[in-house]
């Protein structure tokens, strides 16, 4: 394993220990018990392990502030480590785990006792924990409390009275329920949430925008990615629809409706002229254009998304947080001299002392 991966745990442990040591005084000053400090440390470590961002290595010299010589007591240790893993699972189960078998039955004392035995012993049970936490559970939205819910696979819907009375410009969240896909590992249907202006709901524009083609193309995407693709598509479609509507509806864009920007009103004047001349044709063209745009968008968004990465980067933004010694540019060639950085790539953490890179703008 690369140094950038193996040193992660070491750095993290050093930081945790340093923090605990230095805040102990502050805790005592406030009159907070040492027990609370220890508990805080334990919860912190459990969360860290549960995050799966750190690679646990089988190397016995790795990590662990006090690695006791436990190799001889394997059965005892692995049982204790199992208990610890269960406790870690229990800590996260409140927020995520559907597997109730691992939750909450943790013998707290044993879990606490195993804490000192070092992380490396927790490797096996934690790996099991990893697989059971994977697929991330998706909670289906409960009840029909949202009047704006629309089925993506359904046909046209009549406007709901509540929605009809809303201010057309108000942005409403809309839940779109997708049936489960074969490869997603989830047996529940997924719900994506997008934000649309109420006017879109009042005029049933969503059914035109959310074509079957679009829906089938995002079906394979993970929920968050699918939501953002859908959101972008809806935004684009609504914008082009609105532009067309505005051009058709209001011939006069100056006077009361004039914007202060001179450039803008010049542009609209030109558009009005065109509109006057080719009104009908333009409307037809815009309709066709909108449909084409609706069909092109899903095709283009397929280009952007790669399957392997999208399943792994499910909810991660690959981020590097660091300091820079120098960042230089020559024409469009950039050079980066970075240091003391932590990277989170595809959910995993890496650490570097120095990193140099190039890019073209």
């Amino acid at each position: 394993m690369a140094l950038c991966q193996t040193s992660v745990l070491k750095v993290y442990h050093a930081v945790i220990e340093d923090v605990i040591t230095n805040v102990r005084d502050a805790f005592l000053d406030e009159g907070v018990d040492e027990q609370v400090l220890q508990e805080m440390k334990q919860i912190w470590r459990n969360k860290l392990l549960a995050s799966k961002a750190v690679e646990l290595t089988p190397d016995p010299s790795e990590g662990g502030s006090h690695p006791p010589p436990i190799v001889a007591n394997n059965p005892k240790v692995s049982k204790a480590a199992n208990a610890k893993a269960k406790k870690a699972a229990a800590a996260t189960s409140q927020s995520s785990l559907p597997a109730s078998s691992m939750a909450a039955k943790s013998p707290g004392a044993a879990g606490g006792g195993a804490a000192g035995s070092g992380l490396k012993n927790g490797q096996m049970p934690i790996k099991q924990e990893v697989t059971s936490q994977n697929p991330p559970p998706l909670h289906p939205t409960s009840g029909g409390s949202m009047p704006q819910r629309q089925q993506a696979t359904g046909g046209g819907q009549t406007p709901i009275p509540i929605v009809a009375s809303l201010d057309p410009n108000r942005i409403m969240p809309v839940n779109i329920t997708l049936p489960s896909t074969a490869g997603s590992g989830s047996s529940e249907s997924r719900v994506l949430t997008i934000q649309v202006p109420a006017s879109a709901l009042q005029e049933n524009q969503l059914t035109q925008i959310l074509t079957a083609h679009l829906i089938s193309s995002i079906m394979t995407l993970p929920t968050t990615l699918a939501s953002s693709v859908l959101q972008q598509h809806v935004n684009a479609a609504l914008t082009s629809a609105n532009i067309q509507k505005n051009m058709g509806a209001s011939k006069q864009l100056d006077g009361a409706l004039d914007s202060s920007d001179e450039d803008e009103s010049e542009e609209s004047d030109d558009n009005i002229d065109n509109d006057d001349d080719d009104d009908l044709d333009k409307d037809d063209d815009d309709d066709v254009e909108q449909e084409d745009a609706a069909e092109e968008e899903p095709l283009n968004s397929e280009d952007d998304v790669t399957d392997e990465d999208s399943t792994e980067t499910f909810d991660t933004d690959n981020v590097i947080v660091c300091q820079y010694d120098k960042i230089t540019r020559s024409r469009n060639k950039w050079k980066f001299y970075l240091k003391d950085g932590i990277m989170n790539m595809r959910g995993k953490d890496y650490v570097f002392q120095k990193s140099n890179g190039d890019a073209e703008w």
């Binding site: 933004d317 950085g341 890179g357």
Partner: protein, 109 residues
């Protein structure tokens, strides 16, 4: 004061969650939590300086956007490849947030 830059890392976020829980349970005051976070900033900056060993090289196909404000660079790169000896890692998109490296005196705190 040490950079609060690292609070968005896994370690930082887990710490903040832990502190929020403790404060909600009434086990510690928000003030104390703030103190812990400030200590975390110091320990993190120091810890990286002393314990991080790896030297990484990377090459990006494209610098998508760059932004610099108050000596903080925010960069977005596409198609990046990280290398360290035999270790190779390729990702489609990377965001880098970098603060200017401080010149530190040898004694800290």
């Amino acid at each position: 004061m040490a950079y609060q830059l690292y609070r968005t890392t896994t370690l930082g976020i887990t710490l903040q969650e832990t502190l929020t829980e403790c404060v909600q349970k009434g086990e510690m005051t928000p003030d104390l939590a703030r103190t812990v976070l400030l200590q975390f900033d110091k320990s993190m900056n120091e810890g990286l300086k002393q314990n991080a060993k790896s030297q990484l090289a990377f090459k990006a196909m494209k610098l998508e956007t760059y932004q610099m404000c108050d000596d903080v660079w925010t960069l977005k790169l596409n198609d990046v490849e990280f290398r360290e000896k035999e270790f190779v890692l390729k990702v489609d998109k990377v965001k880098i947030v970098a603060c200017v490296a401080k010149e530190e005196k040898t004694n800290t705190k």
